[in-house]
């Protein structure tokens, strides 16, 4: 296990989990002092999922957090003050007081898409991010999270299915924390493993212990690498437990005591500390240093947040529309030759080729029956006609298409990567 991560990586994971918990502990204090304007949601006990999965991303990658993914935001580079100020509705917060909690983003630098409260909506959005990144030649991966409850939405299906048809470089972390507000997962989904849903989309999936940060990281890293390599979207089910209520107002009395005490004994930070101590990566001194560093940082960040003003009232009327280039200069960052997507190179035959159509292959057979982009560009087609030997002879629904052309089409899919 150890040999795949460096000492620094182990310590990073520890630092971010501790920071995640400390940021939320600070916010509980702020909440009790009535300094938090709205609700406060907790990821207590789920820190390993946010931290481990986001740590698998590179700087250029995109993520969209859910309400309990404060840890992912910290890993991506959001300063704790932004999270405090969001909750306190301060003018210096990323949304300048227009929205709260983890509802903020950063398109320019950190590549974070803001969530909304309607669950599942981020899934097609991040599929779009992934497709656009591929189109621009950026080699990025997009990641978002969904809960066991959120996986019941229609848009979960629409988004994941669409991402699968597009083979989008997209990783979806399904945090199964056993509770959707007060409704247990069994009342949400009649499946033992929510990862089984991946089969419906013909995509790969993993199941991981969501309280084991190293396992989460390694699984997410493998998924991110595979998605980046063009294998299509990947679903990871991380099994965990929501230790607090839905939000601060909810004492969660509907949760059986035995269930709570079982999961409390599996606290992800304590488990990881045991592991790090056994592996001699962390000792009491190292732990103290990290704690002191976090304390000092959060004191500073909290002071800054508390001293930030509330937004001026009339600011409510501003910013509904982008007023043009002076407001936002929208420029895609091309990392491929634009000529590839412009005529004549972009031109194709308007036909669907359906490889393996009628062959009776199930979703475990690998490919969905209809493939994206398997008809070559006209210019490329002429070029490839001689070079590409047919691997198989896919049947085709196109009237005009010869077997040879179809074989070329099948070959060109590989050439696209």
């Amino acid at each position: 296990m150890k040999k795949n991560l460096t000492r620094q990586q182990y310590l990073d994971l520890y630092y971010y989990m501790r920071l995640n918990r400390a940021v939320e502990d600070t916010m509980v204090k702020l909440f009790r002092q009535n300094k938090i304007v709205g609700g406060l949601y907790s990821s207590l006990g789920q820190e390993a999922i946010s931290v481990g999965s986001a740590y698998a991303l590179e700087k250029r990658d995109w993520l969209a957090p859910m309400i309990r993914n404060i840890g992912a935001l910290l890993v991506k580079g959001v300063p704790p003050r932004d999270i405090f100020m969001q909750h306190m509705a301060k003018y210096d917060s990323p949304t300048k007081g227009k929205d709260g909690t983890s509802h903020f983003g950063d398109l320019e630098n950190l590549h974070i898409v803001s969530p909304i409260s309607m669950l599942g909506d981020l899934i097609p959005v991040m599929a779009g991010v992934a497709i656009a990144g591929r189109y621009l030649g950026q080699k990025i991966v997009a990641m978002t999270w969904i809960g066991d409850g959120g996986s019941s939405t229609g848009v979960f299906h629409e988004g994941l299915n669409f991402a699968a048809t597009q083979k989008a470089p997209f990783v979806l972390i399904l945090e199964n924390n056993l509770w959707a507000y007060s409704t247990p997962v069994r009342r949400q989904v009649p499946l033992e493993n929510l990862a089984d849903r991946a089969k419906a989309y013909g995509i790969s999936s993993y199941i991981v212990d969501g309280n084991d940060v190293v396992a989460v990281y390694k699984t997410a890293k493998e998924a991110v690498d595979r998605a980046r390599a063009g294998e299509g979207p990947i679903l990871i089910e991380a099994k965990s437990f929501r230790r607090m209520g839905h939000a601060q107002h909810d004492p969660a009395e509907y949760v059986p005591k035995e269930m709570r005490s079982y999961w409390e004994s599996r606290d992800p930070i304590l488990l990881y500390e045991k592991f790090l101590t056994a592996e001699k990566v962390l000792d009491a001194k190292g732990k103290k240093e990290i704690e002191d560093k976090i304390d000092a940082l959060l004191q500073k960040e909290r002071d800054f947040a508390e001293n930030s003003p509330m937004p001026p009232a009339e600011f409510a009327a501003e910013g509904v529309y982008c007023t043009g280039d002076d407001c936002h200069k929208i420029q895609p960052k091309w990392e491929r030759d634009k000529r590839e997507v412009m005529p004549p190179k972009s031109s194709v035959s308007a036909v669907w080729t359906v490889q393996g159509f009628g062959a009776g292959k199930g979703s475990s057979g690998g490919m969905a029956p209809i493939h994206f982009g398997d008809t070559p560009a006209a210019a490329e087609k002429a070029e490839n006609e001689d070079r590409l030997a047919p691997k198989s002879t896919p049947k085709t629904i196109a009237k005009k298409k010869s077997a040879k052309a179809a074989a070329v089409a099948a070959g060109s899919r590989k050439a696209r990567r």
């Binding site: 227009k98 509802h103 909506d121 779009g128 848009v155 509904v320 031109s347 994206f372």
Partner: protein, 340 residues
């Protein structure tokens, strides 16, 4: 059907090779925008291989390829969500709703996610959502909708509903270049029924500007889309009776061109609003409120409206004809208004 004189270019530009239909104008706009800017992509159901249910995207796939012309599953929320995500990386997707009625399926994605992004977290979403709307072609209750007012009530969106091929092309181009999410309604009754010469060169029509289609002094008829033509037809009949109606084509419903409306009211002092949308909650009510607030002293009569009935769009021709406004209904209402 009038030939939409009001929208003709005044720059004496040359035509692009004969008059074109509304459909052709839409196709030209998408084609030219994709040709101009590789950030422009088209996404929707059956837009690629098939060329769109109404053939508005015919030929785009052949020219621009699979990455820029994306056939999707039947998943309107995925279409809008993905387009929005694409726009965050600087692309300018044009989304097609196969029929605009289906926009109801992605209402949440549009109103909660797309529309609020700029206000909440400074994230512009330059996407266009376009599709065939409107009745009069016996499409029945699920293929005839005029859902514009759901979205006019949503801050953050822009809503366009043109009535001529010239405007359709120029406004669609303007919509693609706009940094905000724009809903673009295409009245399918007009798709093949009107033709117009279009300039050969690139042009846009500004979003948020109404057009005076016919000058008059006795009353103002405010309308848009197919009903603009109905209103012009009624105005001809009114002229025979000595009533000169000014006909204004709103073109954009959000933002509404209040200035042009108020100017006309100052002149005619009477307003009739004609829309194919149902009556309750239609744009006529909003216009009535604006006039009460800003032009109360200019009004010599009540604001009147000719609209569809407050029912779903019925299927049988007898029922649909009764449901829809027509030139006769506009004529009768205008004559009544002119008596004040």
């Amino acid at each position: 059907m009038p030939d939409a004189n009001g929208s003709k270019t005044t720059n004496g530009s040359k035509s692009n090779g004969g008059p074109v239909t509304f459909l052709e104008a839409i196709k030209q706009a998408m084609f030219e925008e994709m040709e101009r800017d590789p950030a422009v992509v088209v996404i929707g159901e059956d837009v690629g291989v098939y060329g769109g249910a109404f053939k508005t995207s015919e030929g785009l796939l052949e020219r621009f390829g699979w990455e820029r012309v994306i056939d999707t599953p039947i998943s309107e929320s995925a279409i809008i969500g993905a387009a929005c995500g694409m726009s965050y990386l600087g692309l300018r997707p044009i989304c097609e709703m196969q029929f605009i009625d289906f926009i109801a399926c992605c209402f949440n994605q549009l109103t909660n996610f797309v529309a609020k992004g700029h206000y909440l977290w400074n994230a512009p979403a330059p996407i266009v959502v376009r599709g065939p709307s409107g009745g009069g072609v016996h499409g029945g209750p699920f293929h005839s909708a005029n859902p514009e007012m759901y979205f006019v009530h949503t801050p953050g969106l822009k809503v366009i509903y043109p009535s001529t091929p010239y405007d359709a092309k120029g406004l669609l181009k303007a919509a693609v270049r706009d940094n905000n999410p724009v809903l673009f309604f295409e009245h399918k009754f007009l798709y093949r029924r009107i033709k117009e010469e279009l300039p050969a060169e690139d042009y846009t029509v500004p979003i948020g500007k109404a057009a005076v289609r016919r000058e008059g002094r006795h009353l103002t008829i405010l309308s848009y889309a197919a009903m603009m033509h109905t209103s012009l037809e009624a105005a001809e009949a009114l002229a025979n009776e000595g009533i000169e109606a000014e006909v204004i084509d709103l073109r954009t419903l959000l933002p509404l061109d209040e200035e042009t409306i108020l100017q006309s009211v100052k002149k005619t002092n009477k307003v009739l609003v004609v829309h194919e949308d149902t009556k309750t909650g239609g744009i006529a009510g909003e216009i009535a409120a604006i006039l009460c607030e800003k032009a109360f002293g200019d009004l010599d009569g009540p604001l009147m409206r000719v609209t569809s009935l407050d029912t779903p769009v019925p299927y049988a021709p007898t029922l649909e004809d009764y449901f829809l406004p027509n030139a006769q209904k506009v004529f009768v209402a205008a004559k009544e208004l002119a008596r004040y």
